[in-house]
Every structure is written in C-alpha cells, then in structure tokens.
Symmetry: C2
C-alpha cells in the first residue's frame, strides 16, 4: 500500500529541509548516535489569530512524505559536493535511509487542538527523525494555520452562508494556492475557484467571469453569435437573443446603462444561459451593473432559464448588497417574478474575518462570500510557528530551557487525552507520561497546570478520548482518508466544545494540563538542567 503513495507536490523530497538537518544527521552518524532511540513532539506554542484554538491539518501530506522518503542519487551528488568535508560513509547511509524504523502517533486530521500538546509524536532512530523535522513542519504549519483561518471565517459567516475560496492569484506560489484550496475546504469552506484543486482533490469548483469579460465589449454590434436556443411547450426554438434583450431594455426603461456592459452580459448569457451570474461593478454597480443584469436576466427568465444572481467586487458591500436586494425585490414585484427577489448576491473584495462579523451586524444581504487574499495569506497572522522538539532519547526524557520562558518544552514521551464533562463538552486535554495509567471515565483525575503547583483541576470525566492515534508503524497502517472525509470530521468538531471558545471577542481559554507524574518529572529535569548563574 505504502509504495503507491506520492507526495501531492512532486517538489516535496527529503531535500525540502534546512541544511542543519543534514549537518546534524552527519554528526549523529559520525558520533555513532544515529541509531539511538528518540522521541520528537510536533506542537505549537500559542493559538493563532488571538484565538483559543487551532484546527490540525497536514497529516495526509506527512504520511505521503514518509511513504515516499528516498534520497535519490541526484540528491546525493548534490549533498556530497556541498558537504565535501564529510566522510563518504555518511552518503552510503543516506542512500539506504527510509522511514521503516519510525512510529508515528498523531491527532486525527481536522481535530481541534491546543498549544503545547503534541499534535504528532515521532518515535524512532535519532538520525532519520532529525531529517523529518523541517518537512514535517513545512507540511503542517501552513496547513493547520490555513484550516484554522478558514474555520474562523466559517464561524464568523454563520452556517447559512456559502463560502468560496478565491485565493489562487494571491497565494504564496503554486503550492501555496493548492494548499489554500485544500485546507480552506477542510476548515469549512464549500468550494474553491481553483481548477487544479478540483482535479486533484475533488473539491467543488466555481466561477463565472471577471471584469475583463465586461470591458472586452463596447456594444452589441460586437456580438458575433446572436441566437439562443430555448424550449417552449417541449419544443426547441431559436431566437435572436440580442434583439430580444434590447427590446426588453426599452420596455424596462433602462436605456442609459453602459452599452459594453450590457453587450458583455448578453454574450455571457448566450454561452451560459443556465448559469447566468453577472459581475456588476465594472462601471457603476447601481446605475449600470444591476439594471443591465436585470435586463438580461429577465430576458433569460422569459425564455425559461432561471438566472442565478450577481457579484459585487468593490464599494461598501453591506450598503450595496441591501440596495441590490431592494432593486431585486422591487423588480420582482413590478414584473411579478418572485424568483428575482431571491437572486443570489455574491460578494468578494478584501473580505476578512472582521468584515464577515461587520457585514452580519450591518444586516447585509449577501448570500455567498468569495474570499481570497485574507484567507490564503492568513493576513491576520501569516505563520503558526509549530516546532518539532526532542523530548526523549534512549528512554531518558530531555528538556529544552530557554532565555524565553514560553519556549520551554514538556519533556518525555507522552500520551494525551481529552476529558469530557456530562454535557458532552470537552473540559481539558491532559498529557501524561507514556507509561502511566490513563485517566478513566467516571473516575476522579487530577490535572496540573504547567508552572503553578497550586493550580490543579480535579475532574470526573464522563468520557475520555485518547488524542494520539497510531498512524505509522514502520509503514502506513491505515488507508488515507479522502479530503471529503477529513472535511466532514473537521466540520463536526467545534460542537464538542463550549461555543465561547470560538467567539472572536474574549474567547474563553481551554486548559491543557499535565498529569501529576508528568508535572513532577518536568520540574525535576528543569532543576537539573539549570546551571548556576556564574556570569553577570
């Protein structure tokens, strides 16, 4: 099974890494420590976007990377040249290296996660594990950040809105775009504009036309193909659609609209009579775009085609959407076409999480949001900062202290559990030593704060969920889920927590805690590691 897996991006290889991984691996090998048994934790330190949670993603890509891990002869030639001072035996070792001695436990992709708890725990020989650090971080950092960002936008927009990812042109390169499409879908978006994401992942794709379509025409004389086929009483008929629309224009009294725009709408409707959605802000939304759209949409309607709606891409979206809705409603009344009152209003242009909350508050009439830049670049915080830290070697836990207090690691090979209360909501995620008794349902359990020995939570959980599941045991042990399954799991997770955790303003924080034994172990190692302060 494993041999069939490929990286989504063919660029992904063991060389997608920092050079210091190869120098360290060399030094481990040279010092005969490369086969020492080690454990690394992948975790992040602070919740992104000033929030109280993240949503984990990237596991699928990590497992693909593990499956296909191979340093090619070409790679070796490059490394030999770049590290010419190194013993040639090292490169022989690299040539045969793979992930067959590694075990991986991880959170399920799409799970809601919290700072400091291991999202991925990696056990195996020190040498190969060191070489996994940068690729693992590259493949999970942006994935998790992006999924979290999408989830926050989904929460901001509400469940009843349709969310479309429009970021391909603003993402960080081709793969940034593809990842953005994948992870916004997992994080709660409904579809993407990105064709390659549709092809590769089966994500629904959407799109109609741009401003260039509208500005490409000057008037209806440029329309080359004028006839539209339609059906009346089951019979196929043809009509000069241009003349038909121009007559309707006169009847409706909107004769001073932009001529090029009207021609472009007609030409687009001729190509997509069953899916007519007009971008209405190329010249002026309310005085030209909407009337031109309505003239063409009404003509289609008379021939039995149901128009879809409009897209607003500039200006004050809440006001414009309300005025647009009013025009639709007035038109529906005037022409006795109730369908027109409920036409869809799509909005794009610089939408972010804050704008979504504002638009809701202002009572906008937008049905569908197309979000690009702020979604895919995670403008509010463009990096997650997850890290990959050595926590145990040869069965001895290791700690990393630091001149920055927040950078201290929780030592040792660990398990972690989510404890639920009677109402079905999660209470705390608790980390334990690897080999201690897990917390049990309906039994009292003491959870400790990281630093304050007096701060403890005593819990009688109604349910205990192990968070780290084995996903790689010398090889892949389950079939990888389809992106749709990951999305469905991701979409279902928020309900397991207090909704106040997800609010934008003053979200409550969720406690991540330690078992008593892990607390003791951590502080003992901390004391041992500190050197007396001999300089000042």
């Amino acid at each position: 099974m494993a041999s069939l897996l490929r990286n989504t991006n063919p660029l992904v290889s063991p060389l997608l890494t920092d050079k210091y991984q190869f120098t360290m691996a060399y030094a481990y090998w040279k010092g005969k420590r490369h086969q020492d048994h080690a454990t690394f934790d992948l975790f992040y330190r602070r919740n992104p976007f000033k929030g109280s949670f993240a949503q984990f993603a990237g596991l699928d890509e990590i497992l693909r990377f593990m499956s296909s891990f191979k340093i090619t002869n070409d790679d070796l030639d490059f490394l030999k040249k770049d590290m010419s001072q190194c013993d040639p035996g090292y490169f022989k070792w690299l040539k045969n290296l793979d992930c067959s001695e590694v075990t991986i436990h991880a959170h399920k992709e799409g799970n809601i996660v919290f700072p400091k708890e291991p999202l991925v725990r990696v056990d195996g020989p020190l040498g190969i594990l060191q070489l996994l650090e940068t690729p693992f971080l590259n493949l999970t950092n942006y994935a998790t950040l992006m999924t979290t960002n999408a989830r926050r936008m989904r929460i901001a927009a509400g469940q009843d809105k349709t969310l479309l990812e429009f970021g391909c042109r603003r993402a960080q390169g081709p793969d940034g775009a593809l990842s953005a499409s994948r992870y916004s879908y997992i994080g709660g978006f409904d579809a993407s504009s990105h064709v390659l994401a549709g092809k590769m992942f089966g994500i629904p794709i959407k799109g109609t036309h741009a401003h260039s379509w509208v500005s490409s025409m000057k008037d209806t004389s440029e329309i080359n193909v004028r006839n539209l086929t339609y059906f009346k009483n089951g019979q196929k008929k043809e009509i000069d659609f241009v003349d038909f629309v121009l007559e309707n224009q006169k009847k409706l009294g909107w004769t001073a609209t932009n001529k090029g725009e009207l021609a472009a709408f007609i030409d687009y409707a001729l190509a997509f009579p069953t899916y007519f959605l007009g971008l209405v802000d190329t010249y002026d939304t309310l005085s030209s775009g909407i009337p031109n759209f309505l003239i063409v949409a009404y003509s289609l309607y008379q021939l039995g085609y149901l128009p879809i709606g409009v897209r607003l891409d500039s200006g004050k979206l809440s006001t414009l959407s309300r005025k647009t809705r009013k025009m639709f409603q007035d038109f529906a009344k005037k022409t006795s076409t109730p369908h027109f009152a409920k036409l869809k209003i799509v909005a794009s242009n610089d939408i972010n999480e804050g704008v979504l909350y504002d638009l809701k508050k202002e009572g906008s009439e937008i049905d569908i949001y197309g979000i690009g830049t702020h979604l895919v670049t995670c403008q509010a915080q463009p990096a997650l900062g997850a890290v990959f830290k050595l926590v145990e070697i040869n069965d001895e836990p290791r700690i990393k202290l630091s001149n920055s207090f927040g950078k201290i690691t929780v030592p040792g090979k660990k398990n972690s559990y989510r404890l639920f209360g009677k109402n079905g909501q999660a209470i705390t995620d608790v980390m334990t030593l690897f080999d201690e008794q897990p917390p049990q349902a309906h039994k009292q359990y003491t959870c400790c704060d990281f630093f304050d020995s007096h701060k403890k939570i005593s819990v009688i959980p109604s349910k205990v969920e192990p968070l780290l599941q084995k996903v790689w045991d010398h090889k892949l042990i389950h079939k990888l889920p389809h992106v749709k399954e990951i999305k469905e799991f991701g979409d279902s997770q928020a309900q397991k927590f207090d909704p106040k955790l997800f609010q934008r303003k003053d979200p409550i924080s969720y406690p991540v805690t330690l078992s008593s034994k892990l607390y003791e172990k951590m502080h003992q190692l901390w004391d041992e590691a500190l050197a007396p302060q001999i300089f000042d």
Copy 2:
C-alpha cells in the same frame, strides 16, 4: 530551445487557475471572439510595506509556464466533466492551445518598479490571454512581494551584514518555501538554509545545528567517538578530544556549565572541526552556552582549527550580542587569541525589518542574521495584489472604472520609459501610447499626473530607458538568465534612485506619469464609459 524549459514546480499547469478563466474562455470561444486581438497589463496598485517601491520578480517562471503550456488529455477529461453543459468543440480547441500567438514585453526581472505601470504587457488572441491571467498573477505576486521584502531587509541591515533565509518550515507549503529562498536571494540575501533551493537554483546553503542536537546529550559519557585528528608541524596526529576539552574546562574555570550542552558541543566539533558554530541558548546563553562554546572553541583552536562563532536564538538580541562580544574580547585578551575577539555572532528568532533597524540603532554586535517567518510570510503585508487587466481589444483601448476610485485602469496598449536626471538618478517612469514618439534624451518632455490636469512635470532627461523589453515573440527569444545574474541585476538597481526612496520612515514617493496623449485618451474613455446616474 523553448521545448527544453520546464516549470520549476511540476504542479504548475494551465489548471493552476480560477475556474472563471475557463468559463470566460468558453464564452469567448462560443461567441467567436477568442481570436480577437487583445492586450492585457499586469500591474499592482499600491506599494507594499508602506514603502515607495517594489522589486519585480517571477518573469522566469512566467516564461517557463508559457513554454510548457499544454492542456493534457487528463486535464481535458476533468474539464469536460466539470463543464458538461459546454459545446464539445471547446475542448478540441483547448487541446491544441499554446502560446505561439502571444507576444510578451516585460520589465527585466529584479528591476525596481512602481504602482500602475505595466510590469508585463501581453498581446495576443483574447482566448489564450484570458487563460494566462491567474497563473501569471500566481507566479509574480508572491515573487515580487518576497523580493521586495528581502530588499527592504537588506537595506535595513546594511551592506556589511550577512543575511540568511531560514524560512523553510514557516513558508506556505513546499513551494512557498522554495519561492521564498529564490526570491530572498534575488532581493539581496546571501544564502539560504534550504537544501532544495541549493540543489535547484545553485543558491549557497548554510546550516549547523539545532536545539535538539544540544538536548540530545546528557554528559560526555554519551560520546561514542572521542578521537580527533589534527595536524602539528605537518604531521597527522590524534587526540582524545573529550579529555582534552575537559582539561581545558578545568583550566578555564568554567566547571558549572550544563554538562549535556558541553558534551553536545564537543560531539559537534568532532564531526565539524573546521566549521564549529554553536547554538548557545538551549539552557542559559551567558552562564552556560557561551562558556561551553569557548571551552570547545579554544580546544579546537589549540589543535589548529579556527572556530566560527555562535548563534543566539532567544532573549534580547542586542544586549546578548553585546555581552557575548564582551566575553569574546575578554577571552581573547586573557588567552592571547585575537581570533576570539572577532568570532561571528549569528542571530535568529523573530527578526523583521523593524528589528533590524532597532538592532542597528542599539549598537548590536551581530554579524549575521538568520531570518525566517517574517521574511517568507511577508508578515508586514502578506499579499501584493497585482492584477491583470484588459486594456485594449481589436486596436481599441478599454478602461475599467469602479466604485473604488483606486481601481481605475490606464487604458490602451502602452510603452513605458524611465527618465534619468543629470545626477544619474531616475526622475519618473512615464507611460505613453504604444505608437507615439518616445521621450528622448536631452529633449524637453511633459509628464502628466493621472488625475489632476494641472499637475505636470517638465523634464529634460539625460537618459531614457525603455522599461518594457520583448521577451516572448510567439516563442522565447532569449535564453533565461541564471538566478545569480538576476540577483546581481537586482542588487545593482537601488543605486539608480534617490536613497530617500528606500528609507523606512517617510520615504519620498516616485512619480509614475502619463504622456499628454495618454492622459487625454484615458479621460476621454472615462467620460464615454460613465453612465448617467439614474438610481439613487
């Protein structure tokens, strides 16, 4: 020549695009307008990072994309299924589509550029041009933003510092990382940690070790290979380096430092005696990291190896670097080893443009900066927002108005020129109609503001540089330059402008202007396009 070019990222394909490009292309095809001759401009609207310039990049990737443009049978199968309502003839047309009817003029990659001027001008049939929009934007937006960000950091750090890109783990996926390495190099960085960037682009790569290396050891009993080879009076000798270091430790009097850290430094020095650089903040920088480093470095020095220096990765970098330098200087004096006073101090950890200015002001003693997150994510502004707009069709210029004033386009197929003053500094970039007489050196020329008819600059340029060079004429017409050539060109451009343009605080702005004829044309079209305001 063209057939040999491949996209850097194999994921890049005509499907790396928004679906609306394929729906529009269909509608053009269906309306028999796909062969209409069009011109699109790629440009951006506002300078990034609150600055007064950008540095253009991504042209190489655009040209590779053009060369390899091919919609595969696999792609067609997907499109046919997704756009099942479309006429099958469309897919036949797509199957044979390539860029052989397209002409491209562009700024040289690495050039300093300004808002609203075309960075790339594309001429050719409307259908194919529409399909180039999203890939072109994807391949230039982040490239230009990233190059500009790197250039700003180079300017902030000064020419005498070494700048290393360390962003692989924080970039937006695999390709974000690779692009970040490439474009930070073009933007003035010296090297990268990214191995794949070294292999693919020939960018110098750097790296030593991480915290995990240090925390992997508890004491010197874990060192498996103790002997170091060295040369004395031309003779090869061996020594138990561990014992040698431990003796030096006693002599130097630093006996209470962290034992694991000392062991790790010794083990690393054993692997890389000619390139010993220690990461000194795993436990405590000043009381453990620096003394441990000096003990090992001094031992190497005595055996004829020159140690390199240290890396600081947490804490207050200016203070720590000054204290470190003081310790190096004291040590050099005490041991009569002048080399130690000048050891390199590398700093990493959350460095951005502002921090670089601050560190300079605070008189830090840092020689080398390793910059990751803020560089590669362009945290200060993670998207450029370049656009690709139709400006002419069938020899008639087109304008796009908008409810947002700043989104108005400059119509028509244009040329653009950089006018230089007597001091060799650029004065203005002026856009002209395609077919009008270019400005000439030593002749007076009138440059108009975009909107204010009274605001004009009269210039007698000492030199006139055409900015748009032909790079694709139905096929690639020059060999693509190596990334090093692009970098050298990029590094040399800033000197052509007033240095005040590049300062962080209140940079002067650079005028982008229009010829009188283009000004007139633009405002005439604007008047024609506006519909009377019939709604309110």
